[in-house]
Amino acid sequence: MNLLKNIIKIKFDLLEKHKLVIFITIVLAVVPFFWLKPGELELGGDSSRLYLYDPGSYLQFTSLYSVDPSGMGKLIPNQNMLPFLLLLQLFYNIFHSSYILIYLLNSLKLSGSFFFMYLIIAEILKKHGEKDKIFLIDVAGILTGLFYTFSSSVGENIHAALLTHNQVFLNPMIFYLILRFFITHQSKYIWFTLLITLIFSPNFTLLAPPAPFSFYPLAFFFIALYTSIVLKKSLPWKKLLFGLFLFVGIHSFHIIPDVTHIFDQGSAFNERAFGTGTARNEGLEYFNAVLGLGKVSLNIFSTYSTHQVRWTTFAVPLVIILGFILCKKRQSDLFLISAFFFITLFLASANITHIGVEFYRRLFYIPGFSMFRVFYGQWQWVYTFFYALLFGYSLFIVFLRVKRKYIFILSGFLISLFIFNSWIFISGQILRRIHWGSNNMTSIIKMDPNYEKTLAFLKTIPNDGKIFNFPFTDFSYQVIPGVNNGAYIGTSPTAYLSGKKDFSGYSDIAPFSNIFLKLAKEKNYVAIKRLFGILSVKYIFHIAGPKAYEVSFPTFPYSLFHDAISDSNSLTDFVDKVTDGKVFQQGNYFVYYADKTSYLPHFYIPTTLLAYDNDKDDWYGKNASFFVDNIVSDPRVGYIYRDTCVKLFSSLDCKQNIKKENVPSIIYKRVNPIKYRVEVSGVTGPFVLVFSDQFHKDWKVYVSKKEHKKEKIQRGYFNGSIQEYRHEDIFFNDSTFETLDMKSISENRHFTMNGYANAWYIMPTDFSGNEKNEIIIEMVGQRIFYYSLAITFVSIFIFILYGIKLLKR
């Protein structure tokens, strides 16, 4: 009892001593509450923040499987967000409000960055901590925290924050914990570090490497040097290695799939990481192109982009210089901080002498360094971090020479400057950016209830057909106008929140992007319907009205589509010509059937194979118009590249259409986005099975030994020759690993069809002579996630036991 009383007393004493710091932390935590009005959401940006709108759906449709939820279904591991999404869903279950989730995250960014920057400076200056100087350390710490929190690195891009933006508070938080660990050798700091990295695992993914790789190597190096040289303490190697081992174990669920993806020779990440020729050259070319954007002066006079606040920027560098002038003794810790400040300034600016630039170019020969080609953006956070440390230390030195009353005046003056400089951020105005190229459309959106009802409808669509969105954007984003003068522009909510694959823009339908725009301009509706068939598009989602198109967005993000379809009336007319009946309407949100006669289900067996040559060189260097002039009436055509055709059929056959008589019937069922069952019956000869998802060698076909249990058919096509069972979304059950002991069909018989899709040449000998057979199509890369998830669970178990052991101590 006495022990408990003493602990409580100590805690209260601490609170009393640091009440100003705690008060400021609380104020900063509350400030973001006033940034948005009730009902407003701020979700857009380069990677969107739909996880704040509906974390549960985002988790279900995005983060469980190594496949892109949109468009062609490219393979990419997405699991790094799992713990973060689980936490968000927990808060969503409590508050039932996306607005609160957005507020909580922004609140954490402000309060977390301030509090931990304060703690870091207080820790570093502790050795100067005679009784009468504690107050000076506190004030220096507060000002450091405020400088960092209000800096343009934290605030300038918050309106379009990627998940990596969490580093604004994660960097100082983890730095402080690791610093304390190195100094005290206490394992509890490692434990808390691991917990935080687990919750915020998206910030430690290898697929977004610039953020962690720009900060943590330098941070660890600094802390190691600080501990060994300045404090002259030994480094806790054993505990550190154990912590590192546990880190890898806990993060296995995303690190191992990420590593596998990086080593996948087909992936863009592989090229970036290891392409010594191409990746380095691309990175270097990009660096050379943007070299002029690295400005030493902009980094020293760090400010927001509003010109009126430039005058406030003299204070921090002035304090630093004064600190050095007034500092009489050689301070090894100050020297160390300065060295890291200059290193990061060089990395963030690049333009320090021609020799410096040439040296920077040589850095691109280091494998993986190309990730820093947007150097002026990617190094800014670590630069601001060390800039803040240097400022805090220098300020302390200045305070040592100044009378106490002037310290208050100076501190008040500096705080006023920081607030004035960053008022656009503190007041939340920075969130209310106008979308580039738009007609006064803000990035703050009040969701249209009609859109939410439409999204809810899309979720209920039982079949596996894909959705094509209009208006069609310049890249892969979708634009959702709100009831206010705002719009969401980001990744498609249809794909990410309803689990339906869709196509929203130019990048989504590669290699057909240019040909689609050309056909739209030419009003070649027949060819467009044929293209929709190849893409397995069953529905058209049209956001009608001029507000969603030319009035609000006269250029970007519809600059390419405007050239083909200039206004909303023409677009409505166009949609009318390519659709086949309305399915749903709510306000200006329409869902139609795509042309039913041209529709090709997700799986189909071609009755005609049409070989084509790669003689038309478009943007992607491929022939993407092979389907345009096809005159075969049955839409079940498989377009095969002639070089592939001759490997499976005779050269003579490949010179003309290959007709397939008596093709087998199929009934297919989605188990989950990476696994399908296809019941094949009436097999009398070899046939080609097409699966309309992006070709990848990891899609395998297995012949099942089990008989498929009878289920209810939900829909049939082509007089019942293709049918669909009710689809499911089973992440894990007793059949998850059933294909482990099955042999897959040879990869020699797996090829690209229709310019992008998977196809297999299946022979009757693949089956055991039965007329009815079940085959399983599975993306085997997902297994890596299951195995690594098991490693994570074991590691988390060890982690919990470790925590209990520390608690008992």
Partner: protein
């Protein structure tokens, strides 16, 4: 007398250096590593010969900072602002090394 001559030479040397630096900032288009490292080298020699302290270097940095700030206010991140800022950084590094060795 000798002391005064020494002080005179020191002042002259610093004045010539400052003029050279200002000439580079305002009158020479583009930047040249030859000039940059040449002037830094001369300053290094000056440190040795005239026993300039790190504080003198930091005072020079302060002057560059004020100049860069004024340029930044009126011209933004212009070419001359950048040049001044780079000189500020380079002299800061020199001052830091001096302070470490003192």
């Amino acid at each position: 007398m000798e002391n005064e001559t020494y002080k005179g030479k020191k002042s002259a040397a610093i004045t010539i250096l400052i003029i050279a630096l200002l000439t580079d900032i305002f009158f020479i288009t583009g930047s040249s590593d030859f000039i940059t490292f040449g002037l830094l080298g001369c300053y290094g020699i000056g440190i040795k010969v005239y026993k300039l302290s790190s504080n003198a270097t930091f005072l020079l940095c302060l002057a560059f900072l004020i100049l860069a700030y004024i340029q930044f206010l009126f011209l933004g991140a212009s070419v001359t602002t950048e040049k001044t800022a780079v000189w500020f950084v380079l002299f800061f590094i020199v001052g830091l090394v001096q302070r470490f060795r003192e």
